[in-house]
Amino acid sequence: MNLWAIVWLALLIAIFIGTYIWNKKTPQPEGCEDMSECSGCHNIACTHHSAHHEEEIKDEY
């Protein structure tokens, strides 16, 4: 097993986790707060599907 392969994979995973956390911590611009909902397709497994947001609204009440 090539040692560089492990190092390279670890680096890529670290970069992905870093960019993901960095993106999540970046505040949404004004007027874009409720943009995570999408009704483009019927894939209910997608976190952007409106069904997930309906649950969030119910939880709030």
Partner: protein, 190 residues
């Protein structure tokens, strides 16, 4: 001239959506309204062009020298996912207007197989950096044209008298098939 024929070939003749069936998921899912289809097209163009350049550089300057080219698939997946996160964060900070227009479609590009397909095709076709960039641009322009045309056709189909059993996805797939036949008709162009 070769770059022009490469561009026309990948945009129209060998359109990845209608000839290789890449990105059929967004084609069917995000083509209900022409405006949404165009926004998706812009976002895909942005990401595919950048991904083509980045993956080409990483493959030839990291994977090949380290003799780990067998990791190209996992590398490209992680690079594209990271790139989408970075682009989203960058747009949030610098261009809220562009971020707003792309909306939720930007993070959804991570799962668009056309982005990964173009990166892998560029490597297998042994393109240089300029050719890979032109190929990325051509594929994404082709995707944008197809998804926009498809959305306008679907909009008209909403008010058409379609038999009950063909409504929705069946008539959309038949439409995609007819579009593929139409594009195959210009195969002799390049």
């Amino acid at each position: 001239m070769e770059l022009v024929s490469l561009f026309i070939g990948l945009t129209f003749v060998n359109n990845v959506v209608l000839s290789k069936f890449y990105a059929v998921c967004p084609l069917l899912g995000v083509s209900k309204k022409p405006k949404n289809a165009l926004n998706m097209g812009y976002a895909v163009t942005f990401v595919i062009v950048i991904a083509s350049i980045v993956t080409h550089i990483l493959y030839h300057f990291v994977l090949v020298p380290l003799e780990i080219t067998y990791l190209d698939l996992i590398t490209f997946i992680l690079v594209i996912a990271s790139l989408v996160q970075f682009v989203e964060m960058f747009l949030k900070k610098t261009s809220p207007e562009i971020y707003k227009s792309m909306g939720v479609y930007l993070p959804l590009i991570t799962t668009n197989c056309a982005v990964l397909g173009v990166a892998l095709d560029n490597i297998s076709a042994n393109y240089n950096l300029i050719e890979a960039t032109v190929a990325g641009l051509a594929v994404s322009v082709g995707f944008t044209i197809v998804i926009y045309l498809f959305a306008t056709i679907r909009e008209r189909l909403e008010i058409a008298n379609v038999p009950e059993s063909f409504k929705g996805t069946p008539i959309a797939l038949i439409t995609a098939g007819i579009m593929a036949c139409a594009l195959a008709g210009i195969a002799g162009l390049v």
